[in-house]
């Protein structure tokens, strides 16, 4: 009998990068087949745990050997966040429209997210420069940490993390949005 999402997540957390590269695509398929919403319910913290696992993995290797995994993961990640954000509609309506891109130095990971009409949407790939309010970029590890809500201003000064957009948005929207995503991922 196939393991459920939560059990499989626990297995994944123990895997080497090589095995992760092999296993993650089928696990993402399983999440989709199971239904994004149901998967989130069955495995609390699923997205957060996967983010953490990826951060600990050999990201440049994943980027080189199986870059498509990063896209698949970003797609399912943002779909999961969208589901979890459904209960926050009033807050997100007050938060206002916001579109952010994420880009990395060491892997082909590119992603975007958008707050609009009280909803969060997002996925792999970036929206056009003129459509974005902000873009974060840095090593994949740093960008994944951002998505867990971990942010230090020091990194902006020390070439760990880069920000494109009007600086006031760091505090006004870009950083609070990441913190929100991080808490939703848990």
């Amino acid at each position: 009998m196939e393991k459920n999402i939560d059990e499989k997540t626990n297995d994944i957390l123990e895997m080497s990068t090589e095995r992760l590269i092999y296993t993650l695509p089928s696990f993402i398929d399983q999440i989709r087949k199971n239904g994004i919403k149901k998967s989130m319910e069955e495995s609390p913290g699923l997205l957060y745990r996967l983010l953490t696992k990826l951060e600990e993995s050999d990201l440049p290797k994943i980027g080189a050997d199986a870059p498509e995994i990063l896209d698949s993961f970003m797609d399912v990640f943002w779909e999961g966040i969208a589901v979890k954000a459904e209960s926050l509609r009033p807050y997100l309506e007050r938060f206002g429209d916001f579109t952010v891109n994420y880009e990395t130095f060491d892997t082909p990971l590119k992603a975007h997210a958008r707050v609009s009409d009280g909803k969060i949407t997002g996925g792999s790939g970036m929206v056009k420069f003129r459509e974005q309010d902000a873009r974060w970029f840095g090593d994949t590890k740093e960008v994944l940490a951002l998505l867990r809500g971990e942010f230090s201003m020091v990194k902006l000064f020390t070439e760990k993390l880069f920000f494109e957009g009007f600086l006031g948005l760091v505090q006004k929207k870009a950083s609070p949005f990441n913190a929100l995503v991080g808490s939703l991922a848990m």
Partner: protein
């Protein structure tokens, strides 16, 4: 291309930082007069615009670099050829080898071009003279409070009870803003001037601290010592909003006024008197400039001292204190060119090629590349293309001859300019730049205090075939097949207004074209976190500096060559040289404008009469100035001596930015009277946050010049 013209003749003067709101009188399509100007630079705008030497057509170099042979070409040819060459450089060496270099000429236009250039040509390597200007101060302020604090548009003079000018000469540097300061003084505000020279404000000061150049941090630390030990600080603000107070308190115990007095050449009692004023009079505001927070190897730490003084006395973001510019005017930052610059970035790949990456980690934040490294890069192939806009790089940068020869080695040099300069003389293409009265623009106007931005249409059509600098780079990018994010200039201006929900055209149609901005004070009381720093507080102990290996508490570092560190050198080179900012000119500009030149026909060296007489120098004599740098042994620069009785006999002050349009090309005498010609970028030490060399407080020898 004909387009909309201003209906009321209002425009913003971009000849200096003040951004005065002026009105042009136009007759038969020409600006004949400028009203409301507060200085010669504003009054002579028509002289500049219609000067016979103005560049009016695109030109391509014939013959060798600097040979002075030029061919007039069409814009189509110019943009096509430049685009092709930039593409070739990108393909062969990477886009990061293209440098977009901007200075402060045609102020702020260059900085917008820099923004456009980094995005359109995908390069992180942009440079403005600001690495020897505002950037050390910016880095210190950002590390301390998360935004700019001590610059000229931060002080709120109007409501201040005590004004501090520290290494800043507001009558020259900020001629419009200084009127607000004078009004406050007239109402009874007290005044502290920290300046070795007898600047006009010094004569009005309650305390004039005639400090030894380069020892500002020693003074700052001693004043912190007094204020903290006498418990004159704002305990509530310190308790709620600062980080690291106890560590600062412990740190400054060693820096007594007694310790600082001999270092700074100040009297102990004067240091104490000034400190007590800072501790007891509220609110107070401060304006610091290149005399203290730039051009020295301790610049950023000097600025840190000032930021800490403002913080512990509770004078941040209060009326009469120093405004948190970016925070208080959050909306302004959505459009102004200062925050725009760091706000637009190239691709991650281009960031990898950032000159100075790792070495000066904070530089990327201010988007200034490492200038000594850049000049070396001209020789070793790391710099392949340069787009130099509004910057007379050869004159404005240290090691002028090295820069001049280095430019000749680069594959492609493009210089949009108003006039031929020593920098333009060694270009491949010289492009005719429109004057700022000939362009559409959106300008944040940070007078006292900054509370509006102005949108205006061009006053008159550009002369000849002059183009807006921003249009040039957009059109070249289009020809190069780059992804052009802005269809045209209007689109770029609309982009800058996107968060205001209005178009540029709509902004121009507001009364006076002014967009009023909100002015809340003490924004930190309601913000979460209160300050945009890693700790969310004012960082008296800087976690950012700590992370990059720079002392996290304010420190004093003695100059590499000073009467203290190298007394033996001072036996032969007994003077300390400082720069003088001029009323007549903005940096290197304006020497060809007759009315300006009349105010300052020759470069001047201020010297104490007794010191000069001992050397056989009479007022008006030409004098030679030499420095002890081995590389420049036997080299000298020339000034006319001007006697200043109040000048400390150990100091001299020389004009900066001189070159002579009337002298033979290609040099135009850039090495004759410019201190940069005898300063070396080759040897450090370098300022640890931005990498500038010590380029003021220089040991020198002065002798009478004999033909």
């Amino acid at each position: 291309m004909q387009s909309k013209l201003s209906k009321n003749g209002h425009f913003i003067c971009l000849r200096c930082h003040q951004k005065c709101y002026l009105k042009a009188v136009v007759k038969e399509g020409k600006v004949t007069e400028v009203k409301d100007a507060v200085c010669i630079k504003g009054a002579t705008i028509p002289d500049l615009m219609y000067h016979p030497d103005r560049i009016l057509y695109p030109m391509k170099r014939l013959g060798k670099r600097g040979e002075g042979k030029w061919e007039r070409i069409s814009w189509d040819q110019a943009t096509s050829e430049i685009a092709s060459k930039l593409n070739d450089i990108s393909e062969r060496y990477g886009s990061h080898t293209i440098y977009v270099v901007t200075g402060s000429g045609q102020k702020h236009i260059g900085w917008q071009v820099e923004t456009l250039g980094k995005k359109l040509f995908d390069t992180a390597n942009t440079h403005g003279g600001r690495y020897t200007c505002i950037i050390p101060e910016v880095m210190a302020d950002f590390a301390t409070v998360g935004e700019l604090l001590t610059y000229e548009f931060n002080p709120c003079y109007k409501d201040s009870n005590l004004i501090v000018f520290w290494g800043a000469n507001p009558d020259v540097g900020t001629p419009a803003q200084v009127r607000e300061a004078r009004a406050a003084l007239k109402k009874g505000a007290k005044l502290i001037v920290v300046d070795p020279r007898p600047i006009p404000m010094a004569k009005k000061a309650d305390v004039w601290l005639r400090i030894r150049p380069g020892t500002d941090a020693a003074l700052g630390l001693a004043m912190l010592h007094v204020i903290i030990n006498e418990e004159l600080y704002d305990k509530d603000f310190v308790g709620r909003y600062t980080y690291g107070f106890e560590r600062l308190k412990e740190h400054v115990q060693q820096f007594t006024p007694e310790w600082a007095a001999p270092i700074t050449w100040l009297k102990e009692e004067d240091i104490i008197k000034a400190a007590r004023l800072l501790g007891t009079v509220r609110p107070w505001c401060l304006y610091a400039r290149c005399g203290s927070v730039s051009q020295q190897i301790n610049s950023a730490q000097n600025a840190r001292c000032m930021a800490c003084l403002l913080a512990i006395t509770g004078n941040i973001d209060v009326p009469g204190g120093n405004t948190l510019f970016f925070r208080t005017f959050t909306d302004a930052m959505l459009m102004d060119t200062y925050p725009m610059r760091p706000g637009i970035r190239p691709s991650p790949n281009a960031e990898k090629g950032f000159m100075g990456a790792g070495k000066y980690p904070m530089m990327h934040f201010g988007h200034m590349c490492d200038m000594p490294g850049t000049v070396r890069g001209m020789y070793d192939g790391k710099v392949r293309g340069m787009w130099i806009v509004a910057d007379n790089l050869v004159v404005a940068e240290q090691d002028s001859w090295k820069v001049f020869e280095g430019l000749k080695k680069i594959d492609l040099v493009v210089v949009p300019e108003l006039f031929m300069t020593p920098t333009a003389e060694v270009a491949d293409y010289v492009l005719p730049a429109a004057h700022y009265a000939e362009i559409d623009n959106l300008v944040g106007t940070f007078l006292e205090p900054y509370d509006y931005a102005t949108a205006y249409r061009k006053i008159v059509e550009p002369q000849g075939e002059c183009w807006d600098d921003r249009r040039m780079i957009i059109e070249v990018a289009k020809k190069a097949g780059r992804e052009v994010f802005w269809e045209d200039l209007e689109d770029f201006l609309n982009f800058r207004l996107q968060y205001f929900g209005m178009t540029f055209d709509e902004a121009c149609n507001l009364p006076d074209g002014k967009i009023q901005l909100p002015k809340p004070w003490r924004r930190y009381e309601t913000s979460v976190p209160p300050f945009q720093t890693p700790s969310g507080k004012v960082e008296l102990y800087s976690t950012v500096f700590e992370a990059i290996g720079v002392p996290p508490l304010p420190t004093f570092v003695e100059n590499p060559i000073s009467p203290v560190t190298t007394p033996e050198i001072f036996e032969d080179y007994p003077f300390i040289y400082m720069h003088i900012r001029l009323t007549a000119f903005q940096h290197t500009e304006g020497r060809q404008i007759e009315r300006q030149r009349k105010m300052r026909p020759d470069p001047i060296l201020e010297i104490n009469p007794e010191a000069a007489t001992k050397l056989g120098i009479k007022e008006g004599d030409w004098v030679k100035l030499e420095v002890p740098t081995p590389k420049f042994k036997g080299k000298y620069i020339k000034f006319r001596a001007k006697f200043v009785p109040e000048m400390d006999p150990r100091l001299v002050g020389g004009d900066h930015g001189w070159w002579f349009p009337e002298k033979p090309a290609p040099e135009h005498g850039f090495g004759d009277s410019n201190i940069n010609a005898i300063l070396s970028l080759d040897t450090g030490p370098y300022e640890p946050t931005v990498g500038n060399i010590q380029c003021r407080a220089i040991a020198c020898k002065v002798t009478k010049f004999e033909e």
